[in-house]
C-alpha cells in the first residue's frame, strides 16, 4: 500500500504561494483568492508503519518550522487543494534520494514519489482552481498531471514487445513517405536508398535497424545541409562545412582538435588545453521549456566532459531568443507556449541544473523578437579544461569494452534527434511528447566526478555522450571504423517493459558511453563504485566493420558500418541568391524635439528587452562557484554595471586565465545575412577584447539556428557561412567547433508559416597569460576622458533598437570596416594590458549612449558628452556599429597617444554628479535611467 506524507511550513504564508498570488493578481482582473499555500506531498510504497514514522521524522519533516500529516490533508480550512505530480514514467529526480535515505536508515521502501499541492483559500470551485492552475501553467500536461485519483501503485510494469520486421522492399514511394512522416523525418531519396540496401541484402529490416538509420541520417546527427553541394544562382559551391574547415585549418597555431570531437580544443598553458561548444535545444524547449533547457545544459556539459579522454566543465553561457514577454496572446500560434512562461521556465532550468552541477553561469544574453513566438532559440555554451595529453579524440581498439554509465534508460526522450530535425507544426506538441524529459543534475555531477578520476588513472580509451539518438548514435559512431557487438539486455532500465529498439534509441539523460581497454575494466568499475555511478557492460568493439545488436539471443540489428555512415547520399540543394539588402524600407524617424522627448526615447531604448538589465536573472545563476571568476557579470559600487565577457582562472593560484564572450543579432540577418553575420562575429570578438582578451589567442565557435533550409533560407545561410569564413580570414583565427540547427520554421495546417530571424551566434574563447591585465566596464574615476574608438557606420541604422522603437526596420545594417577592425582591437588590447584604459565597454545594442550609461552606473558617476555636428544626434547616440569601443582614459593627451593610428573621437568626460548630459540636447539623472533599465526583469522575476 501507499502511505502519503504531507509537509508544509508552519508560517502563515510561504514564498512560493505568495509568488503565485502575485502572478494571479497580474494575470486576472478579479480573483476570489485570499491566500495560496504550497504543500509537499510524499508517497511511499512498500514501507512498514513504524518505518513510515521513522522515515518521516528523520528525513521528510523538520519540527522546527514545519507541520506534517499522514494520509490526509494538512491545511484543514482550505477551500480547494490541487495536486500536481509528474506523470508516471517521467523521471522525478528526487526519488533516487528518497530511496537512498531509506536505505541508509535500514528502512525497506519499494517505491516513492513526491509532488506539490497548491492550496487555495477563498471562494472558488475545484473547477475554477484547476483552471487557474492551467492558466498560470503551474503544470505542463506533457510531463505532469493534476492528481484526481490516488495512485494504486508507483511501480511501472510492462512487457517487452517483440522486435518487428518492417516491410519496405516492395512498397510504393507514397508508402515509404508515410513510414517516414512524424517518425523518421527522412526524404524520399533517402528512404529509397534504404529500400535498395535491403533489397540488395535480400531481407526486410527490423524496427531497430530503420530507427538506427533514421537517427544517424537525421539532420541533427548527419548535418545533411552542411554537407550538401549548394547551388547558388546556378553556380555550384562547396559544402558549408568544407568551406569553414578549409579556412579554419589555415589558422592552426592554437588548435589541438577541431571539428572531430564533441567540442573543439585549443592550447592553454602548462600542459593544459581548453575546450568549448555551443548546443541548442530548441524543439524540446518549445513544448516543455524547463525540461528542454535543462537537458540542453546537461547535453552540452556532457559534450565538454566527453572530449578526448575527459574534461572538467568550468563555465557555462546561456543565450535565449524569445518573443517579447508581453506578446498579445492572440498572436500566439496554435500549439505554442506564451513567451513569458518560456522565459521564466528556461531561467529556472539553468538555475536548477547549472547551480546543482557547480558550473558557473558567467555569460549570456537575451534577444527578443516576436517571430521567435513559435520556436524559441535556446542555446547553451560550455567550456572546459583538460590535460593536453588527454585532449585528442580517442580511437577505439578491438576488444575494448563498451560500457554505459550514469542514468538509467527509460522511454523518455525517444526520437529526440529525429524530432528536432523536423519543422515544428501544431501537431508537434501532441505527437512528439516522448521527446521531452527532466534532467537530473546530481546524476550527471557524480558521473563527471568518476570520469575525471578514471581519466587520471588512464582507464579511458574513448567516449561519447549518449545524447541525441542514444546508444545507437554513441556506439554506432564509436565503432564506425572497427565494428561492435552490443547486448541490450545488459542495459540498466528505469522500469521494465521497454522494447529493444526503445532501449537502443532512448535519449534518457545523464549517460555517457565509453570504450575501456579490457585490462582496465575492473579498475574502472571500482572508480564508478566509489562515486555511486552505475555501470552497464554492453559489449565489445571488434573488427567486423558491422553494427550488431542483440536482445538476449535475438539479433535486432545487423548493419554494415560503411552503409550506416557513408550510405547517406550527399544532398544537392538549391539556394536563392540574396539581394544586397532584403529590406527596402528607407524611412527615418523624427529626431526628438526637446529634453522630455529625448529622455522618453532613451528610457524606451533602455527598457527594451535586448538592452534592459538582466541582473535579477544573473543573481539566480551561480556565477562564483569554483572560485574562478575574476570578472563577474556585474561590477561597480552597487554591483549593477554589466560587463562584456567573462574572465576566469580555471586553475586557482595560477596567473593565467580564460576569456569567454559571444555575439549575435538575429534581426540584422533578416535584413542582410552577410553583414548581420559579420556584425555578430565582430560583436563577439569586441566583447572579448573589451575586457582584455587577446584575440590572436582566441578560437571561435559558430552556431547556426536557421529556418528550415528552403531556397530562400539556404541562400541566407550561404551568405552567413561566407561571412564567417571572411571573418576568420580577417582576424586569422579559426572556428574550431559548432553546430547547426536548421528547423526553426513553424507551419500550421491553415497554411500559416513563421520563420525565425536567422541566428548566427559566434562564441569566442581563449587564453590570456595574466588575468590582472583585464578591465571592467564601470567608470573608475571622475574627470577622466571618454573616447569612442573604432570606425562607426553612422548612417546605417537598420535593425537598431532605436529604429524598432520607432517601428522601423531600416534598409542598411551597420557595416564593419574589416580592414580597420584588427588595428582597433590591437590598440584596445594594448591600452588595457598596459593599464592606460581604465574602463572599456563595446558599442552594441542601444549604441554609444547605452554603453556610456552602463559605465556611469557601475562607476556611480555621470558623464558629459558632446555629439558630432556632422551626424544626426539621434543616429550618433543610438547607432550600433560593432567593433567600436567606449573607453575611459586619463586626459586627452593620453587618448591622442593611444589611438593615433585608428579612428577615434573624444566624447567628453566623467563627472561626479550622477547625470548624463548631452551638450545642446538633454541632461538626465542616471538614477532615472537606471529605474527604466532595471524595471522589466525586476517585474518578471519579482525582485
Amino acid at each position: 500500500m501507499i502511505y502519503e506524507v504531507r509537509v508544509t511550513s508552519k508560517a502563515e504564508r510561504d514564498s512560493r504561494g505568495e509568488d503565485l498570488l502575485t502572478e494571479i493578481k497580474r494575470a486576472l482582473k478579479t480573483y476570489p483568492i485570499k491566500k495560496i499555500r504550497t504543500v509537499k506531498v510524499y508517497r511511499l510504497e512498500g514501507i512498514s508503519k513504524p518505518d513510515l514514522k521513522k522515515f518521516t521524522q528523520k528525513v521528510l519533516y523538520e519540527e522546527i518550522d514545519q507541520n506534517v500529516s499522514y494520509n490526509g490533508s494538512i491545511l484543514k480550512d482550505a477551500n480547494q487543494t490541487i495536486e500536481v505530480a509528474y506523470k508516471p514514467g517521467v523521471m522525478n529526480p528526487e526519488v533516487g534520494s528518497l530511496l537512498k535515505a531509506a536505505k541508509d536508515l535500514g528502512i525497506k521502501l519499494t517505491a516513492a514519489d513526491s509532488s506539490w499541492e497548491y492550496v487555495f483559500f477563498g471562494e472558488l470551485t475545484r473547477g475554477e482552481a484547476k483552471n487557474l492552475i492551467a492558466k498560470l501553467r503551474l503544470y505542463n500536461p506533457l510531463i505532469e498531471h493534476i492528481v484526481d485519483q490516488r495512485p494504486k501503485t508507483l511501480l511501472i510494469t510492462g512487457k517487452v514487445g517483440k522486435t518487428q520486421t518492417l516491410t519496405i522492399r516492395n512498397i510504393s514511394d507514397e508508402e515509404l513517405m508515410n513510414l517516414s512522416k512524424d517518425k523518421l523525418f527522412l526524404n524520399l531519396e533517402e528512404m529509397k536508398v534504404i529500400q535498395n540496401y535491403f533489397k540488395k541484402i535480400e531481407r526486410e529490416p527490423t524496427d531497430c535497424e530503420i530507427e538506427t538509420l533514421a537517427q544517424t541520417w537525421s539532420e541533427h546527427s548527419g548535418h545533411k545541409t552542411f554537407r550538401a553541394k549548394i547551388i547558388v544562382g546556378g553556380k555550384e559551391k562547396e559544402p558549408f562545412i568544407t568551406r569553414l574547415k578549409k579556412e579554419a585549418f589555415k589558422h592552426k597555431k592554437n588548435i589541438v582538435s577541431a571539428f572531430v570531437d564533441n567540442a573543439g580544443v585549443m592550447d592553454f598553458y602548462d600542459g593544459w588545453a581548453i575546450n568549448g561548444k555551443g548546443e541548442t535545444h530548441n524543439s524540446p524547449s518549445a513544448i516543455e521549456p524547463y525540461g528542454g533547457a535543462m537537458t540542453g545544459s546537461g547535453g552540452v556539459f556532457r559534450d565538454i566532459v566527453a572530449t578526448g579522454q575527459g574534461a572538467k566543465t568550468v563555465i557555462s553561457t546561456d543565450i535565449f531568443c524569445l518573443a517579447n514577454w508581453d506578446l498579445n496572446p492572440k498572436k500566439l500560434p496554435k500549439g505554442s507556449l506564451p513567451p513569458r512562461y518560456i522565459l521564466s521556465r528556461v531561467v529556472s532550468a539553468v538555475r536548477d541544473y547549472g547551480n546543482r552541477m557547480g558550473i558557473p553561469t558567467n555569460n549570456g544574453s537575451f534577444h527578443f523578437h516576436d517571430d521567435f513566438r513559435a520556436k524559441p532559440t535556446i542555446l547553451v555554451g560550455a567550456y572546459g579544461i583538460l590535460p593536453k595529453k588527454y585532449a585528442k579524440k580517442g580511437k577505439v581498439q578491438k576488444s575494448d569494452v563498451v560500457v554505459s554509465i550514469g542514468g538509467r534508460v527509460g522511454r523518455d526522450g525517444i526520437h529526440g534527434a529525429t524530432f528536432s530535425s523536423g519543422e515544428m507544426t501544431q501537431r508537434t506538441i501532441t505527437v512528439n511528447a516522448q521527446a521531452v524529459q527532466i534532467g537530473n543534475a546530481i546524476e550527471e555531477k557524480r558521473t563527471f566526478d568518476a570520469i575525471i578520476e578514471a581519466r587520471d588513472q588512464d582507464c579511458i580509451r574513448a567516449m561519447q555522450d549518449s545524447g541525441g539518438g542514444g546508444l545507437s548514435s554513441a556506439i554506432g559512431e564509436m565503432g564506425a571504423e572497427t565494428g561492435v557487438s552490443v547486448q541490450l539486455k545488459n542495459e540498466r532500465l528505469k522500469y521494465q517493459g521497454l522494447n529493444p529498439w526503445e532501449i537502443w534509441l532512448s535519449e534518457s539523460q545523464e549517460r555517457i558511453v565509453l570504450a575501456i581497454p579490457k585490462n582496465k575494466i575492473n579498475k574502472f568499475k571500482k572508480i564508478c563504485g566509489k562515486y555511486n555511478v552505475e555501470i552497464s557492460t554492453l559489449g565489445t568493439f571488434d573488427d567486423t566493420k558491422k553494427l550488431k545488436v542483440f536482445y538476449g539471443s535475438e539479433k535486432v540489428c545487423d548493419l554494415e558500418m560503411q552503409f550506416l555512415h557513408e550510405g547517406l547520399p550527399q544532398r544537392v540543394m538549391n539556394a536563392e541568391e540574396v539581394a544586397k539588402s532584403k529590406s527596402k524600407e528607407n524611412k527615418s524617424p523624427k529626431i526628438p524635439k526637446n529634453q522630455t522627448e529625448w529622455i522618453k526615447t532613451l528610457q524606451d531604448v533602455l527598457s527594451d528587452g535586448n538592452i534592459c538589465s538582466k541582473e535579477p536573472i544573473l543573481r539566480m545563476y551561480d556565477h562564483t562557484v569554483q572560485g574562478t571568476s575574476v570578472l563577474q557579470p556585474f561590477t561597480g559600487e552597487s554591483y549593477d554595471g554589466p560587463n562584456d565577457a567573462a574572465v576566469i582562472r580555471p586553475i586557482l593560484g595560477k596567473p593565467y586565465g580564460m576569456v569567454v564572450a559571444h555575439g549575435l543579432n538575429p534581426i540584422l540577418n533578416r535584413i542582410d545575412p552577410y553583414w548581420g553575420s559579420i556584425w555578430a562575429a565582430t560583436e563577439a570578438i569586441s566583447n572579448y577584447v573589451a575586457v582584455g582578451g587577446i584575440y590572436q589567442d582566441a578560437s571561435l565557435v559558430n552556431n547556426y539556428i536557421w529556418p528550415f533550409p528552403d531556397e530562400e533560407s539556404l541562400g541566407s545561410l550561404d551568405r552567413s557561412v561566407t561571412a564567417v569564413v571572411d571573418f576568420m580570414k580577417t582576424l586569422k583565427i579559426p572556428v574550431i567547433s559548432g553546430k547547426d540547427s536548421l528547423s526553426s520554421t513553424y507551419r500550421s495546417d491553415d497554411g500559416f508559416v513563421l520563420k525565425i530571424p536567422p541566428v548566427l551566434c559566434i562564441s569566442v574563447f581563449g587564453k590570456i597569460p595574466d588575468v590582472k591585465k583585464t578591465t571592467s566596464s564601470d567608470f573608475k574615476k571622475t574627470g577622466s576622458t571618454i573616447v569612442q574608438v573604432g570606425k562607426m557606420d553612422m548612417s546605417s541604422m537598420g535593425g537598431t533598437v532605436y529604429f524598432s522603437k520607432n517601428e522601423l526596420l531600416g534598409e542598411s545594417v551597420p557595416k564593419i570596416d574589416l580592414k580597420i577592425l584588427p588595428k582597433v582591437l590591437d590598440v584596445i588590447n594594448q591600452g588595457i594590458s598596459n593599464g592606460k584604459i581604465l574602463s572599456c565597454h563595446d558599442v552594441s545594442e542601444g549604441g554609444i549612449i547605452t554603453a556610456i550609461f552602463e559605465m556611469c552606473l557601475g562607476g556611480t558617476m555621470g558623464a558629459k558628452i558632446i555629439t558630432d555636428k556632422k551626424v544626426r544626434p539621434d543616429y550618433f547616440l543610438f547607432n550600433e556599429t560593432a567593433g567600436c569601443f567606449i573607453v575611459e582614459v586619463k586626459g586627452k593627451e593620453q587618448a591622442h597617444k593611444l589611438f593615433k593610428n585608428v579612428p577615434y573621437k573624444i566624447l567628453g568626460e566623467t563627472i561626479k554628479k550622477q547625470t548624463l548630459s548631452i551638450e545642446n540636447f538633454f541632461s538626465v539623472d542616471v538614477g532615472k535611467l537606471k529605474t527604466a533599465w532595471q524595471k522589466p526583469m525586476k517585474e518578471i522575476f519579482h525582485t
Partner: protein, 257 residues
Amino acid sequence: MKPKVCILRADGINCDEETFYAFEKFGGEPEYVHINQLRSKIKHLKNYQILAIPGGFAYGDDVVSGKILATELVSFLKDQIQEFVSRKKLILGICNGFQVLVRTGLLPFNHLGEMDATLAQNESGHFECRFVKIKIQQSCAIFLKPYVEQVIDISVNHGEGKFFSDNKTISKIEKENLVFCRYVDQNGRPTQKYPPNPNGALNAIAGITDPTGRILGLMPHPEKIIELTQHPNWRRGNVSAKGGLIFESMVKFAQQS
C-alpha cells in the same frame, strides 16, 4: 607539521576544489575523502585534524538542503564523528556543509542526531548569488578573536540559507555567544534588510559555532574570497579579500592544539 584536512566529497558536493585550495594556501594539508571511503573504512576521520564539508548540492538537496547527507552521516559515521569531536578536532561547514551540520545536530549545540535549528528557504523565494558583507563577532570560536569586528565582503550562493529556530533557542545561541558572523549593512550594523541580509536569517545570523568553539558553519563562502581578484570590484581599489582568515586561523589553531 601541517594539519591534515579532510575535504569531504559526496554526490553533488561541488565547492570541494576551492575549499581544498583555500586550506592548502593557508598552511593546511588537505585531502579529498569521499564519504564512501569513510563508510567502507578505507579512510578514517581520526587521521585528520580538520573536517571540512564544502558547499554544493549534496544529493541534489532533495527533500531539503543537506538532509540526505546529514542522514547518511548520522547513520553511518556517528561514532567516527563523535570521536572526532571528543578529541577536540575542528569542523567547518560552508553553505551546504553548514546546512548538513545543522541537520545532523552538530550545530548549534553539538547534539548529533537531533536538530535544534534549521536553514529555511530564503525569504526572496529563490537562489541568491551576490556579494554581501559579514562582520566577525565575539564568539566561542576563540581562534577568531583577533578578527572580531572585521568586515568581510563575501559571496553568498544559496537558496535555503535563512537561519531559523524558536525564540528560546535563538536566545540561547545568543547568550552562549555562538554567533561568529552576521550580515551587516554599509555601516557595519547587523541588518534584516534585503539584499544585505540575503535570506532573512534571524538576528542576521550568517554563521555559528558550537559551545566548544570548534565546530563552525556559515552560509557565505569564505573560500571564494581569498584572493583579491575574486572580489567583483578589485579593479576599483579600496577592497580586500579576507575570506582567508577563516582558514588561516583554523589551520593555526589546529597546529597548536
